[in-house]
Symmetry: C2
Subunit: 255 residues, 2 copies
């Protein structure tokens, strides 16, 4: 695990009809994004696809060609709609036989596992297991693709075995300046001026609005050089003050 100066990128592929039907609120995307950030890996894209083999195959192949890593969530259980392992195998043009370590785990837990549970042992040829410290069978990694569970508590547990395998990038530091009571129309010019003065950094504005009358924006300053991030935050506070922003707060970085 060596830190590099170039950008390391990842994509998340969320697999599951339940996310697309609106039945389940996804929370894995933001958890993965924050986890990857601690390794200096930028989440560059995310997709949500249904439990349809060709959709999964196409998305895996598009994303693994384009980004350093792909993390999938969902579809690795024992039911007929759990087709992720077989679909990922198809994307790589390999089969997905029963993995002996998973079969041993299943036998330990269930005796001779039934046909449904045996599905959970499918791992594409060449795949390496990803530990599941929470409940149930492991995930797996094949080349630059990590296949994790969809249940959030289990997915987060599996992530712990992903990070140490990643090529890491320079960690992005993020600081937030919160403006309340002034809209983005007033904020835009000072924000853009500071952004132009720091072309290597990312300055974003994320408006908030709570009816009837609480509004403003969180201005997020992101960069890889801590001193430059601090300097940009101070320049932004000065520029916002001069522009007449109502209430300006520097939000403490999250622990």
């Amino acid at each position: 695990m060596t830190a590099s100066t170039d950008r390391v990128t990842a994509a998340v592929l969320i697999i599951g009809d339940e996310i697309l039907s609106g039945r389940t609120q996804d929370v894995n995307l933001s958890a993965i994004a924050r986890y990857l950030a601690t390794y200096g890996v930028d989440l560059a894209e995310a997709r949500v696809v249904p439990d349809i083999e060709q959709e999964i195959v196409d998305a895996v192949n598009a994303l693994r060609a384009r980004y350093d890593y792909v993390i999938t969530t969902g579809g690795i259980g024992p039911t007929h709609d759990d087709i992720t392992a077989d679909s990922v195998a198809k994307a790589f043009g390999v089969t997905a036989p029963e993995h002996p370590e998973i079969m041993a785990l299943l036998r330990e837990r269930w005796g001779e596992p039934n046909a449904a549970r045996r599905r959970m042992a499918h791992v594409p040829e060449g795949g390496v297991l990803v530990k599941n410290p929470v409940q149930g069978p492991p995930g797996f990694q094949i080349e630059n693709v990590f296949v994790l569970a969809g249940v959030p508590a289990i997915m987060r547990g599996m992530l712990g075995d992903v990070g140490p395998r990643l090529r890491t990038g320079a960690v992005v530091i993020s600081r937030t300046v919160r403006v309340t009571g002034s809209g983005e129309g007033l904020i835009a010019a000072p924000l853009e001026a500071v952004a132009k003065a720091h072309p290597d950094m990312s300055l974003g504005s994320y408006p908030f609005f709570s009816p009837p009358d609480i509004y403003g924006a969180n201005l997020v300053v992101r960069g890889r050089d801590p001193a430059e991030v601090d300097a940009a935050v101070e320049e932004l506070v000065v520029a916002l003050t001069e522009a007449g922003a109502a209430q300006i707060e520097r939000i403490a970085p999250e622990a």
Copy 2:
């Protein structure tokens, strides 16, 4: 607005670095999915892309070619990273001049708007406004693409002007059977048997796990024929009981 028997599909395109950084938890996807479902429109795919013009252009063009509708969220404010309108215009090969109705709204609110606020008036040629009953300027529709705000309260308000413009499909009815204390390994066989008996319906299993020991799965039966959905639910309850599932509940449909 005529109901049709064929499937009507949509994709959601979430635009914003803040979702990919994990800073903001997206809640728009599930809100849009549930809204579309009331019009019989299936959300078939979702993507999250950063505030980068070419990424937005490529995603809009891929999705609008493939699905009946595309709904985008985010990036329509006045700051330098709000590039959705200009990017969507580029995807359609048109310019995005200042829309006279939006300019009139801005003048009413601010007097002569500054350069930043004028960005909010950019609408691709041929675009039709989407009402914003909450706060700020409207969204717009160009052909089969609807461009909405990212702030959830505003996005939800705008949705009200989207539904009446959609070609509607047959509404999918969804019912849930909740099994607690039995895992998917036991559930899989009865679930698959019922799924095979109803090839036109979708039966999914969504496991849950709350450490240390609450586990089970929600089995979701979805179809367009209410009588068949009810019949499948009853068949599933019988099959689960015969398989020895611990606790089986029919969950009342949501209002």
